[in-house]
């Protein structure tokens, strides 16, 4: 096993990171807009981005099953390694939970998700105002959790770089010069 990430792994990581952070911020912005054509348009874009994130996360997970991540530095204590793996597992779980709750919420609110305005995604739920309210809260909290875990993940990467001075952060950077391997 090499100590580095492949170009594919790095590309998946940063595209997903950019889309997820942007879509959380965009969702938070749009939800507070007064009802307007712009709001309808923005929510559609938010949903399309969510579907894209779901598809990319699924592709990344499938790809990763055949391409395991490089090992964590041997200097890490066992609990640190377990914590790192737990956070990564949690991130993947939230990558799926966030768009899935958004899709279910949209269906319960009576608004089918039509990807890019072209591909209708079937409604698993039918319109139900009470259920929509519950799913809205679930969608919000799952995304707050996702944002929180992303901050934790980034903080840990910075700690590896500046405190432990290992290559955990550097090996995921797209433009960093590769050392070793």
């Amino acid at each position: 096993m090499t100590s580095g990430y492949t170009r594919t792994a790095i590309t998946f990581h940063w595209i997903l990171a950019a889309l997820i952070i942007a879509n959380i911020a965009f969702g938070l912005y749009t939800v507070d807009l007064p009802l307007s054509p712009q709001k309808l348009r923005y929510f559609s874009w938010h949903k399309w981005t969510g579907v894209t994130i779901f598809l990319l996360a699924a592709a990344r997970l499938l790809w990763r099953l055949g391409h395991p991540a490089p090992a964590l530095p041997s200097a890490m204590r066992p609990w640190e390694k377990r914590a790192a793996h737990a956070v990564h597992a949690l991130l993947y779980a939230l990558f799926f939970a966030a768009p899935l709750t958004g899709w279910l919420f949209s269906s319960a609110a009576g608004f089918q998700t039509v990807y890019l305005g072209l591909v209708p995604i079937p409604d698993l739920l039918s319109k139900n105002e009470d259920l929509a309210e519950v799913l809205k809260i679930a969608h919000h909290w799952i995304n707050y959790a996702l944002a929180g875990v992303i901050v934790l993940h980034a903080a840990a990467a910075l700690k590896h770089h500046f405190v432990d001075r290992d290559d955990v952060l550097a090996r995921m950077l797209p433009l960093a010069r590769r050392t070793g391997a």
Partner: protein, 184 residues
């Protein structure tokens, strides 16, 4: 001779009885509509409406019917949307609480299939529309079912920024089902 006149009078009364104005059975009647938002069909309904219908399938041309829809009873499945729909830019319910359709002619186009045309008034604007419908009878109930497409901007439904038809399409499909007590 007097007997004959009496029989004729009875026959007449029967013939007209078939066209006596009737109230619709509200619990078995629906008015739903479908709008397209960002190319996504979104369904809504009106919970409260009333109609008086005098319709004889044998003499559709003699039909007299008026439908009154309580626009404040709009059901979109979410409160924010309903509040917006009742507001000035859309239906302006405080100023125009009801929509009205008065059928002025009904003709049979095929067995069991008819077309009603008449004046549809919403938000102070009246337009002539034609609505095809089918007629079915069972269990003492006569069910009229059909749909028509109307253009919301012709009635100024969705003014200002909402007149943009890329987000909310101009066409609205109205689907109706009215149950009437059968005469026979």
């Amino acid at each position: 001779m007097r007997r004959l006149a009496a029989i004729a009078a009875c026959a007449c009364a029967l013939a007209f009885a078939a066209e006596a104005p009737q109230k619709i059975i509200a619990a078995k009647s629906t008015i739903r509509f479908v709008t397209k938002q960002m190319n996504v069909p979104v369904e809504g309904a009106f919970r409260k409406f009333d109609a008086t219908v005098a319709f004889d399938p044998a003499r559709p041309e003699a039909t007299k019917a008026q439908f009154d829809v309580d626009l404040g009873s709009i059901d979109l499945g979410n409160t924010e949307g309903e509040t917006e729909a009742k507001g000035k830019a859309w239906l302006n319910v405080p100023a125009f609480p009801q929509a009205k359709f008065v059928a002025s002619s009904v003709k049979q186009v095929a067995p069991g299939r008819y077309e009603a045309s008449g004046a549809l008034t919403i938000k102070g604007t009246t337009q002539t529309i034609a609505a095809p419908f089918t007629l079915a009878e069972s269990g003492g109930i006569r069910t009229v079912e059909g749909q028509f497409t109307m253009k919301r901007l012709a009635f100024r439904i969705g003014e200002g920024t909402w007149s943009d038809t890329d987000t909310v399409a101009d066409e609205i499909v109205v689907k109706f089902r009215f149950a009437l007590p059968s005469n026979r």
